[in-house]
Symmetry: C2
Subunit: 205 residues, 2 copies
DNA sequence: TTGTTTTATAAACACTGTTTAGTTTATCTT
DNA sequence: AAGATAAACTAAACAGTGTTTATAAAACAA
C-alpha cells in the first residue's frame, strides 16, 4: 500500500513548486512584491491552495529562509580549502559580507526580517539553521584558540563578538545607513573597517 | 499681514498632531499596526487629510524617525559628564544597546527599517540625523586618538568599526537571531561579547 | 457502487496605502 | 457686503494585501 507514500511525495512536490515560484518572484522583484496571489498566479493555482501547504505567509518565508541557508552553505564550501584557522575565520567574514552584497533579499530573509522567525518563537523550537551556522563559526574560532591565534579562551563569546561586527557592517549597509559616507566612499570604507577589525582581533583577542 | 505666518504655524501644529498620534500608536501597538486610517481615527480626521501634510507613509515615518533621534540625543546627554574619552566611548556603546533594548520600535525606525530612508535616497539629500550622530561618535574616537587611548590614526574608519560591532549586537538581538543561545543565556552573553570587544580595542586599536 | 476523505477553488472578509472628485470653510478682491 | 478665489477637508473609490469559509470535484476505501 504505497499510496500514502506517493501522496506524501506529491505533497512535498507541491510544496517545492510553491517555494521555487516564491523564490523566483522573490529574487526577481524583491520580497516586497511577493504576495500569496502572485505566487498562486505563477503556479496557476488558486491563492487558497497555498494555505493547504503552508499555515501562513510566515511559514512560507521560513521555508524560503531555509533554502537561502542551503545557498549560503554552498558558497561557504571553498572555506574548507583554507588551512590556517585564522585565515579561515577572516575569509568567512569576507564571505558573509559578500553574500549580503550579492544576495540582499536572501540575507534579509536569513538575518534581518522578523517574519520567518515568527513561525518558531512561541514554541521551544530552536532556529536550527542559524544554530548550525553559528556552530561552524564557533568551531573555527575554537581552532584559532587551540593553535594560539586567539588567546581568549571562550569560543562562544568570541564568536558572537565577531558575528556581531560583521553582521553590523552588512546590516547597516543593506539598510542604507552607510549613505552618510557617500556613494563611492562607503564600500572602500567598509573594507577598511573590516580590515581594521581583523587587525585588532589578530593582535589582541 | 501675519496670516501666512499663522497658516504656516497651524500647518506645523497639524503636522505635530499627526506625528504625536502616530508615535502614540507606534509605541502602544508596534509599527506593524500603525495605519494611515488608525492615525486618522486617533486625531478624528479623514485619512485623506494626512496626505495634505505628508507625501506618503514613508515621509511620515521619516518625521517619526527624526523625533526618535531627539530622544536618543536626550538619553545620550549624561555622556558629557564622563571625562575620560575611552570611558566615554564605552559608555556610548552601552547606551546604544540599552536604547535598542528599551525602545525597540524607535531603534528599528532609526537604524533598521528601510521605509524612512526611502524618502531621501533618490535625491542627493543626506541622512542628517544619522550623519550628526556618527559625527559625535567620531569626535569621541578622535579624542581617544589624541590622548593615545587609541593608536589607529583614522577616526572615521575606527568609528565605523565600533558602530558596526555595537549595532550588530543590537540588531541580531532585536531580530530574534539570539534565540539560538536560549532565553536566559542570551543577555549575559551579549554583555560578555561587548566587554570582550571593549577589551580588544582597548588593547590594540 | 456507495461513503469518505483529500484537494482545489470562488467568493467573501477585513484590512492596507493612495487618489479623485466634490464640498465646505476661509481669505482676498472688488 | 457680495462675489471670486484659494485652502482645507472628506466620502468614496481603486487596487491591492493576508486569510477564511462554503462548496464543488476528484481520489480513495468499503
Amino acid at each position: 500500500m504505497g499510496i500514502t507514500e506517493r501522496k506524501e511525495r506529491e505533497r512535498e512536490e507541491m510544496k517545492k513548486l510553491i517555494l521555487t515560484a516564491a523564490q523566483k518572484l522573490f529574487l526577481d522583484n524583491g520580497f516586497e512584491k511577493v504576495s500569496i496571489r502572485s505566487i498562486a498566479d505563477e503556479i496557476e493555482y488558486s491563492p487558497a491552495t497555498i494555505y493547504l501547504y503552508f499555515k501562513d505567509k510566515n511559514e512560507l518565508f521560513f521555508a524560503l529562509h531555509q533554502m537561502a541557508f542551503d545557498k549560503l552553505i554552498l558558497e561557504f564550501a571553498p572555506i574548507a580549502l583554507v588551512e590556517e584557522p585564522f585565515d579561515k575565520l577572516v575569509e568567512m567574514g569576507r564571505l558573509y559580507i559578500r553574500f549580503a552584497f550579492e544576495n540582499p533579499e536572501l540575507f534579509d530573509l536569513m538575518f534581518i526580517m522578523t517574519a520567518p522567525m515568527d513561525t518558531l518563537e512561541c514554541r521551544e523550537d530552536v532556529w536550527e539553521d542559524g544554530h548550525r551556522a553559528f556552530y561552524v563559526l564557533q568551531g573555527v574560532v575554537q581552532q584559532c584558540i587551540d593553535t594560539g591565534a586567539i588567546k581568549h579562551p571562550d569560543a562562544e563569546r568570541a564568536s558572537l563578538m565577531i558575528w556581531s561586527m560583521v553582521h553590523g557592517l552588512a546590516a547597516l549597509f543593506l539598510r542604507k545607513r552607510m549613505m552618510i559616507f557617500g556613494e563611492e566612499r562607503k564600500k572602500p570604507l567598509m573594507d577598511e573597517a573590516f580590515d581594521l577589525f581583523v587587525q585588532c582581533i589578530r593582535q589582541s583577542l
